[in-house]
């Protein structure tokens, strides 16, 4: 349905997006996962025809939309990363405005506005000004404003940033419903891997402008099939133990979070024995040792040597 080919964007010195290839099939939810500054928003802006790429192409039903954006625009709904609403208008007035600019009017407009209000759970607050809304309500309305013209393709840029878990859950469920009930195709951008894991059929992981991994959840996690992720809890993190870990070539990607140390190591070696040996030498006491099923976070760590979230 939609395809980005060698998509590239340079801003002066920064290569914000570097030769990105991705595609979406009708009815899929596809995740674009990456840390802040990875180039997700820039990629999305190019795909949705808002900024022209430096090079590369975006194809919709096999036709380039760079010169002729109208075809895509008419079926596209976009949820920007910022709250793109008039804060001095009420929820209903906002929706009516965004409906009217899509040429909705009269009874049809009323019907769509009521429908969207119900969908995003703001029917009771429809006459309140947006500036009096909580973060979660604003986020929901931000999504609602993209749905009035019943887009076939919904592109969402970090739609859950900075909101309470309940609103977040509501939004994720709503996206799933839109996909299942209205067969809406969704491109979902986030730096929360749980969200992407929960929602998406396929995932692209992006870092520093490039796609570094892609595929289904399982395919991506299989990147780590040759590795164990081991989580060690210690009574006290000692510099000597960390030093001992670092000096072992088979143990890599060591991260420390309070008293939890996470390491990756090849499956062939007996990592338990090694860890206990090192502990004994450095007088370190373990409170627990555990092999974890890998998460997308671990994949990201494996691929980049950095955590997804800072």
């Amino acid at each position: 349905m939609l395809e980005a080919v060698e998509l590239t964007k340079h801003f002066k010195q920064t290569k914000a997006v570097d030769r990105v290839n991705l595609y979406l099939e009708q009815g899929e939810i596809v995740g674009l996962l990456g840390p802040n500054g990875a180039g997700k928003s820039t990629t999305i802006s190019m795909i949705s025809t808002l900024i022209p790429p430096t090079s590369g192409d975006v194809r919709f039903h096999n036709e380039s939309i760079i010169k002729e954006p109208a075809k895509l625009r008419n079926v596209l709904g976009i949820v920007p990363q910022e709250i793109a609403l008039y804060s001095d208008l009420s929820a209903k007035e906002n929706l009516r405005f965004f409906g009217r600019i899509h040429r909705l009017s009269g009874a049809e407009l009323n019907k769509k506005v009521d429908e969207v209000l119900a969908l995003i759970g703001l029917t009771d607050r429809q006459n309140d000004l947006v500036k009096h809304f909580s973060g979660g309500m604003k986020r929901r309305l931000n999504i609602g404003a993209a749905l009035l013209h019943e887009p076939k393709l919904l592109i969402m840029d970090e739609p859950t940033v900075g909101i309470d878990p309940q609103s977040r859950n509501y939004i994720l469920e709503t996206v799933k419903r839109l996909n299942q009930e209205k067969q809406m195709t969704v491109l979902y951008t986030s730096h929360y891997m749980e969200e992407v894991e929960f929602l998406c059929d396929r995932i692209y992981i992006m870092d520093k402008g490039c796609i570094i991994a892609s595929g289904t959840k399982d395919e991506i996690k299989n990147i780590l099939s040759s590795e164990h992720t081991v989580e060690v809890k210690v009574e006290k993190v000692s510099e000597s133990f960390l030093h001992a870990l670092r000096s072992q070539p088979v143990i890599h990607h060591i991260t420390v979070q309070e008293r939890t140390i996470t390491v990756l190591s090849p499956k062939e070696i007996n990592v338990f024995r090694l860890l206990f040996q090192l502990a004994e030498k450095t007088n370190t006491v373990f409170t627990s040792v555990e092999i974890k099923t890998p998460t997308l976070e671990d994949v990201f760590l494996h691929l980049t040597g950095r955590a997804l979230r800072d």
Binding site: L50, I78, P80, A84, Y86, L89, E93, F98, I101, L129
Partner: protein, 366 residues
């Protein structure tokens, strides 16, 4: 485009205070400055005539451009003159007047001249009235009519030559402050466009069925209307609230404000195209509006500026042409066709600024 205008006006009605406060501040400033720069000399007056006759006579006397006559009791008049608080006092009688002065000055000389002229005309009217057995009012009317259609005309060269300078201390601040304050109002409205771009409402509009020209026109037309409403409101308050009749040119003034507000809208979009962010815009508009007001003659009339550099600079400032038009109509009594030149310059500036401004704004977004 209608959808944009509807939404914008709804937003405006939610928060009209900025425009209202701007208008009130403008009216207060113009009134204070106008009153402070009044040049008329105050003359205290008492009268031995009947109240009605006194009023009629005072009304006639107060047509003077140099003196303002105020009635009070005889004691007070003498006291004011004695204490040197008034240049002269005046006692009005049926056929003659008495000047009470402390010393002879140029002003008392002109005052005597003026009073003699008024009493002369009054005596003339009275004499005719007696002969024709008419009332004095009727004769005054007849004499005035007769003067309008004289038996023979003497071609007089206008006392003011074509390039004569008139400074109207009442019009100057009204025009100056209105044109100055409207820059802020308009700029603030156009600035919303920059905010909408940053916050993404703009992108939603771009991706909608709206055409790009509709988005620009909607935004700019709205800014124009708000700016125009403000100046029209201020002028109307002076016209109908304070009874200032703008020398009978009120409707023309309203018309002449159109090209000026248009040029300011265009100037604002040019700034939007030039700046990187809102803060820069705010800083620039404060700086530019004040300098334009100074250079363009909003604070003091350009007629008293002699620096050639300043006068040259004034040629590139829209406010200059705005003042030129308004004063041209209300103070110099020029016709609209005579004001075509500043009007076309403003339209031209508007078109050029808008073209460049929109182009720059567009280029920034890619």
């Amino acid at each position: 485009m209608i959808s944009i205008l509807t939404a914008k006006f709804r937003l405006f009605l939610r928060n009209p205070w900025m425009v209202i406060v701007m208008s009130i501040v403008c009216i207060i400033m113009a009134t204070i400055i106008g009153a402070a720069s009044e040049k008329k000399v105050k003359i205290p007056v008492y009268s031995t005539l009947s109240a009605q006759e006194t009023n009629e006579l005072l009304h006639t006397l107060n047509e003077s451009h140099s003196f303002r006559f105020e009635q009070m009791d005889a004691k007070k008049v003498r006291a004011l003159v004695r204490e040197g608080k008034a240049a002269a006092g005046l006692e009005l009688a049926e056929n003659d007047f008495t000047l009470i002065i402390a010393s002879q000055t140029a002003n008392t000389f002109f005052l005597r001249e003026y009073l003699q002229k008024v009493y002369g005309e009054k005596g003339q009217a009275n004499a005719i009235a007696k002969q024709l057995h008419l009332s004095t009012e009727q004769t005054t009317k007849i004499v005035k009519e007769a003067k309008k259609h004289p038996a023979f005309t003497i071609q007089t060269m206008s006392f003011r030559s074509k390039n004569a300078v008139i400074i109207d201390p009442q019009m100057q601040p009204i025009f100056g402050f209105s044109l100055f304050f409207v820059i802020y109002t308009v700029a603030f409205q156009v600035l919303q466009l920059l905010k909408e771009k940053k916050e993404g409402v703009w992108n939603r509009m771009i991706l909608s069925r709206l055409k790009k020209w509709e988005i620009y026109t909607g935004n700019l037309f709205y800014s124009f209307i708000i700016g125009y409403m403000q100046v029209a409101l201020i002028f109307s308050v002076f016209r109908f609230g304070f009874g200032i009749d703008f020398h009978g040119r009120f409707p023309e003034l309203l018309l002449l404000l159109v090209p000026y507000v248009f040029a300011i809208v265009a100037f604002s979009i040019l700034l939007v195209g030039l700046v990187k962010n809102e803060q820069q815009f705010q800083a620039l508009i404060s700086l530019l509006s004040v300098s334009m007001a100074m250079i363009g003659g909003a604070y003091w009339p350009l007629e008293i500026v002699s620096s050639n550099i300043l006068l040259m600079l004034s040629k590139i400032v829209p406010l200059t042409y705005g003042m030129e038009m308004l004063k041209g109509a209300a103070v110099y009594d020029r016709s609209l066709t005579e004001l075509l030149y500043p009007m076309s310059i403003l339209f031209l500036m508007g078109v050029v600024f808008m073209g460049i401004g929109i182009n720059l704004t567009e280029r920034k977004s890619s």
